[in-house]
Subunit: 240 residues, 2 copies
DNA sequence: CGAAGTCTTGAATTCTATCAATAGGGGTGG
DNA sequence: CCACCCCTATTGATAGAATTCAAGACTTCG
């Protein structure tokens, strides 16, 4: 029942939007869902959460749409038996809960200090109702999410431990706009990464060590990495 | 960048839509994307494909939206090194390629004999532009796809081989509306299932054997199964 | 009826998880 | 400001699960 396709062209713009708050000035079309949300900025309530605080729980009524201003959020599914799956990490500029829905299908938790803007569902719906452009961006955004999920399905379905870690680091670097050779912060814990990649914390640790030993990355400290050999890393990840 | 939520209420209707061609008569609201497509049925071209025939390839221009009338389709990503990932299987009533996109992010291949209706992208877009209701259904449909993908991420990320197979069988039974005790056709090959669940063909075979040995299912033949102990199967799948 | 392809089953190998212990880092309180 | 403690990460050894390699059985189709 899946079926999809994607607005690939929208990807770069979406990734870049966190930085381009002023937007619209720099050439191409970085108009995204986030920009449309800014037109209703005044209706949004600024909220702050501290580390590991819950923003909303799976099953909660989905009364708001959130735009992350600062910090990192993890979306996860918790299970009765304690198992947890981290669906994705969200970064500044990302939007959560953008679909008509009676309740939240996942929980959202602050990985770091987080500040975000919460828009009442009604405002969001009104925006979508009144603006064809906003609607289009909403569809693009959902396509992005779907493509992203499918890409990750491939990672979980086909790749080995070290390949998964390589894919994870590459995607994170892309989203954070961190260049090869620059330090990249890993705000999430090894456990978070493990639950996102379907591995254990020990395997994550060993994979990272293996990448370091192979000279693909540098590790100034446990929560920063530097991509040293981008080509080799990409070959490993081999995103087909 | 994920973020999502879902129109859970839309699920049953969507699953049921394949059967409810006349629809709209039976009480609740089985109005879905498919029904809206039927309003532009006359613009669609009926097409037929035989087993293993390609409907479109990854990277092809996305010029059409397809509604499956009969048969089973697999969406997959092929990789240079031969690895393949089956994103999902599509059944009668399902819609493919419903998002603004320059090209197809996955390939679509006929698992069985397939007949479908192909709508020009422009017709589909016009429908979405002119009908608020159709737009809403489109969003619900995408939400469904996204939730489905996320559910599957959980399966690949957290579950063991036998649990994955149990989840797969349960979801298939639900979608095909096959009751416990009834025969269910498995149109796809073990290899298809393996590539969908991130396992090997041998492991699929062993898992199915294990489920049979445990009395959870019966296997009249290699391409049919009967769910014998629904509760135990659900416990195994443990979809949290 | 025979052949090709698919599925099942078995044995050995490989990868990851699990169990266990140590090391490192950050925060708190003295 | 430093020492201590707790939490997190790393590393090692072992066990377990799935893959791989290999062979045989069953279907299906010509």
């Amino acid at each position: 029942m899946i079926a999809l396709s994607t607005a690939r062209a929208a990807t770069p713009a979406f990734f870049a939007e966190a930085a381009a708050a002023s937007s619209l000035a720099d050439g191409a079309a970085p108009v995204t869902l986030t920009h449309h949300l800014q037109t209703i900025q005044s209706y949004g309530a600024r909220q702050h959460y501290s580390r590991n605080e819950t923003i909303f729980n799976q099953g909660d009524e989905a009364g708001h749409v959130y735009r992350i201003v600062d910090g990192t959020v993890r979306l996860c599914r918790h299970r009765p038996d304690g198992r947890r799956y981290v669906v994705d990490f969200l970064l500044p500029g990302d939007v959560i809960g953008f679909v008509e829905s009676p309740d939240q299908p996942v929980s959202a938790e602050a990985v770091t200090e987080v500040s975000l803007v919460a828009f009442p569902r009604a405002c969001f719906d009104r925006l979508a109702r009144d603006s064809a452009e906003a609607r289009k961006q909403l569809l693009c955004h959902m396509s992005e999410s779907l493509l992203s999920a499918q890409q990750h399905l491939f990672v979980l379905g086909c790749q080995k431990a070290t390949e998964r870690v390589a894919s994870f680091l590459l995607r994170l670097a892309e989203r954070l706009d961190v260049m090869s050779g620059e330090r990249m912060d890993l705000f999430m814990s090894r456990q978070d990464i493990a639950d996102h990649l379907g591995l254990t914390i020990e395997t994550i640790s060993r994979s990272i060590t293996a990448l370091r030993s192979g000279g693909l990355i540098l590790i100034p400290n446990a929560h920063q990495i530097i991509i040293r050999d981008l080509v080799a890393l990409r070959t490993l990840a081999a995103e087909g």
